[in-house]
Symmetry: C2
Subunit: 404 residues, 2 copies
């Protein structure tokens, strides 16, 4: 018996390996300067602090930390998250309206499972987060890209899309420093989104891994902060503010919605790591997460500055790119006739890497776009990497000009 | 907007909260002696050892343990698991044929996602594991119970079922000390299962959390140990031999099958906790897991003995129960006209609890069955709990007799 004879589910045909993942494999060579990943800086992962916390925790409460625990998550951690959501982002949810999940990628999967029958419509930004496309794809939706500018989705376009579509199940958005574009929605657009979604009875999934990583000032209020009913399902995570390796995220939604998430979560993996949750809970009790996030913001801001300076110096006139005021990513548009996948090939010869942008579009078009990560390496490397990138780009532009 | 107006996916109607979970909530009162859970004994969760391991690990390799890691899992841990599967259970899979998952519950969910379209058939034992029913249910299969005796599925019955069914996608079995029945399949039945499944091109999912917890001698060879093709998908876990709170399990299957699991795992939660995997890897390097399992086996054997002795003393003539030679559970059949759910009500008045058996049947029948857990408490409590159980049962039998 071989797998050729085995019949898989129909959905399997729609799944594909993440582009980023395949690219990351190629860029493992140490000489490659990679702007392809989306990794937090190693310097801000609190290894020493968590070493102490883990040791104390396992000595004192080992049999609890190593045992099964409730699907909903650790109560004291849910309370800390509820408090934090209120204080930092204006979201009013009680601890009982917070479900701990195994990274916000799991929240995306549970969302697809809970809402999407084959051929249902998911409305999303253009571009949108690749990991969400991958998670939702397993439930065989149609993706509808809503026209979007630098301030967020265009309200009239969203209104039109919802009026024309009777199988709209979700509106999926990343309003703060979106992966991949670095875009942040204006407050007005957040309010307009909520009003339109509520009127059409279509839930908004607000995926918010980067909200606290703003470089200018405090975070803007979340879309969920304006929600007086149960329209917004808010997804958060410790991945970018504490540690991605712990795989700790959360869903904050009204109680009747959350009960359904608990049900699908239970079938998916029973519960999220007890030890991981207790570690995070104790870290939050003993250390100042706000201060820790301040450090991350400062570091990433310097790196963003370094990348923009290098781009301005080497490429300013040839391409367009965003100037994000938070997060981990910057988005770049090549001249219309260029293909970022081809450019990646030449870039790898120059030992520099990025992620081509077409994977972030549900129509697979927009071959001339690409994503650059600035969080994961020191400024000298960023500068050198952008220099190499510019060299490869200029070579490509020249050969394109010769070709014409 | 309230959730009444929101349209969920069709599958949501089929999901239900786990019976066990609801019962466990009722049995939180400290005065209740609960045989309802499926928890490892607290005494065998190695808190002190892992405190040291976690501290060393996070001091030395914190930035790696707290960072993102590959979907497939940590290579050295996959190698240790592959070696162990070979040495202990006769399974020949390389490290590359092992995928780390977030508890074997996740493996069940990924299996459903990979194989099951609505109305496909899953063949299973009768009774079967409740958590598998819950995981698979989200993919809307039909469950076909194959007649089963104390040695496992009846080969002729399996053959007939497969011949009559053209949408059979999976055969799901727990051949070692099954939850709930405590049953262990004979070697002949394991071989017959594999031969029949391979001939019909239907994969076998061998779910094996308890194989190493045998009380008589070494584990029997796994069904997967006889597999020379790619018929068996083997699911393992650290939950019962190291710690359930870490949520660490694995899928061992041939390379082309495993690639597809990796793809669905990536969409489901990117990867399993890096810290959890590195902790387990280091624990396995520094401690003798075989010796640790010896202790668990010894402890559970004493508790099984205590429960059987108490049952023999108080109930021997009134009910039938299994005499499992491993695992955590014992299965009990009340007289035909009794309802275990009603009995549970009376038992809770006597401060003792168990899980009614009907939840373990895909037809929801067999109201006269129940599951008892013997792993989680000391022998005196087991003895006292069975005494209370017998009192409640005898009261129920008397009132039933009066009623007649």
């Amino acid at each position: 018996m071989t797998t050729e004879n085995i019949r898989f589910a129909a959905r399997v045909d729609k799944l594909r390996a993440s582009d980023i993942r395949e690219i990351l494999k190629v860029t493992q060579r140490p000489e490659v300067i990679s702007f392809a990943g989306g990794l937090p800086a190693a310097e801000v992962l609190p290894g020493k602090e968590l070493a102490r916390v883990a040791s104390d925790l396992l000595m004192e409460d080992g049999p609890i930390a190593l045992q099964y625990s409730p699907t909903e998550g650790l109560q004291s951690l849910r309370q800390r998250i509820a408090d934090r959501l209120h204080r930092r982002l204006g979201i009013r949810r009680s601890a009982d309206e917070v479900l701990m999940v195994s990274g916000s990628q799991q929240a995306l999967d549970l969302t697809g499972k809970l809402f999407v029958d084959a051929d249902d419509a998911i409305l999303c930004e253009s571009p949108t987060y690749l990991g969400a496309i991958n998670a939702f794809q397993a439930y065989e939706p149609r993706f509808l890209s809503v026209p979007t500018d630098d301030d967020g989705m265009l309200p009239e376009a969203l209104e039109r899309a919802l009026a024309a579509e009777d199988r709209a199940k979700l509106i999926y958005v990343v309003p703060d420093f979106q992966n991949p574009s670095g875009r942040r929605w204006s407050i007005g657009r957040r309010q307009a989104l909520l009003e339109i979604a509520a009127r059409h009875n279509v839930p908004v999934v607000e995926d918010s891994p980067y909200a606290e990583l703003s470089f200018d000032n405090d975070p803007l209020p979340a879309v969920a902060s304006f929600d007086r009913g149960g329209t917004v399902i808010y997804l958060g995570t410790f991945s970018k503010i504490l540690s991605p390796g712990l795989r700790l995220g959360w869903v904050a939604a009204d109680a009747s919605m959350l009960r359904r998430y608990v049900l699908v979560k239970q079938g998916a993996d029973l519960h999220t790591s007890t030890l991981g949750q207790m570690l995070a809970d104790r870290f939050l009790a003993e250390y100042d997460l706000d201060l820790h996030i301040e450090r991350i913001r400062g570091l990433y801001k310097s790196r963003r500055d370094a990348m923009l300076a290098a781009l301005d110096e080497h490429l300013g006139k040839d391409v367009r790119y965003t100037r994000p005021v938070g997060g981990l990513f910057l988005w770049l548009e090549l001249p219309e006739d260029m293909d970022a996948r081809q450019l990646l090939g030449s870039c790898l010869e120059h030992d520099v890497a990025f992620v081509p942008g077409s994977a972030f579009f549900t129509d697979g078009l927009h071959d001339n776009t690409l994503r650059l990560n600035f969080s994961a390496m020191p400024e000298e490397r960023i500068n050198e990497g952008i220099r190499r990138f510019a060299t490869a780009l200029h070579e490509a532009m020249e050969s394109l000009a010769v070709g014409v």
